[in-house]
């Protein structure tokens, strides 16, 4: 484990751009570790409060639509 690089490169197939299953799983593992670390932090208060406030009857503030036309731009760029 202390020498990830040489361990991993030994099992690559150089020149073919091929990924060994070992390297694929190592990348997947690191990616999820990074991601899940944030997921585990849960919902910060600021967002819980934001959603609660917006939900209060009659309290829905006017969200400025500076872009206007951008608002329905879902799925397209």
């Amino acid at each position: 484990m202390k020498d990830l690089k040489s361990q991993a490169s030994r099992s690559t197939t150089p020149g073919k751009g091929g990924l060994t299953p070992e390297i694929q799983s190592r990348i997947g593992h690191q990616l999820r570790a990074m991601y899940d670390d944030v997921v585990r932090q849960g919902v910060p208060d600021r967002f819980a409060e934001l959603i609660k406030k917006l939900d209060a009857p009659g309290a829905t503030p006017h969200v400025e639509n500076e872009g206007g036309s951008n608002d329905n731009n879902n799925g397209r760029d």
């Binding site: 991993a8 690559t12 150089p14 990616l31 991601y35 670390d37 944030v38 919902v43 967002f47 959603i51």
Partner: protein
């Protein structure tokens, strides 16, 4: 559809992964939370356009992704303190080794073209299907697959094979034969 309690709870439940997506994309915790906030405001302002029964996380991720991309165009020349800022968001202080490994990974991830990075994160970390990822990114399923594959290959080259990108066939063979090569 109107903002019901259950819809509100579903939106809340999506916040942790929206943050993770935003941080993975931007590499900057403060900016990521601004993106999430903007996403929630947009989503709530446009809640009428959400189709009941459709994929709420995918809808929210689409909004965030589009915001990030328009924001990115404005900011692309700004210098960012990606690693330093991200490290602050970590709850537990990783051990020295793990931390170095993490920074290496983060740096490599930031070197990917944006299209590839977002595809890899959506499929490899958020757990979306190729189909959902394609709809979030507004492209074909095959395009997503090839972006994910290219992202993996590039990460492997950056992380696990030193300088592999610069290798022509000759150098590759030499490196394999010569081991540590000098």
């Amino acid at each position: 559809m109107p903002l019901t309690d259950s819809l509100r709870n579903d939106i809340l439940a999506a916040v942790p992964s929206l943050r993770a997506f935003a941080i993975s994309l931007s590499g900057n915790a403060d900016r990521a939370d601004d993106l999430v906030q903007e996403t929630l405001l947009r989503a709530l302002a446009n809640i009428d356009s959400f189709q009941p029964g459709s994929n709420l996380p995918a809808w929210l991720f689409t909004i965030l992704r589009n915001l990030f991309r328009s924001d990115y165009r404005k900011r692309r020349r700004e210098v960012e303190d990606a690693e330093g800022n991200y490290a602050k968001t970590l709850k537990t202080q990783p051990s020295q080794n793990a931390h170095l490994e993490f920074e290496e990974f983060r740096t490599a991830l930031d070197k990917l073209p944006q299209d590839q990075r977002e595809a890899l994160i959506l499929v490899g970390a958020s757990g979306f299907s190729y189909e959902d990822a394609a709809s979030i990114c507004g492209c074909a399923v095959g395009t997503i697959k090839s972006r994910v594959n290219r992202a993996r290959s590039k990460l492997a080259a950056l992380l696990y094979v030193d300088g592999a990108e610069d290798f022509g066939p000759d150098e590759t063979v030499r490196a394999v034969i010569g081991g540590s090569g000098g």
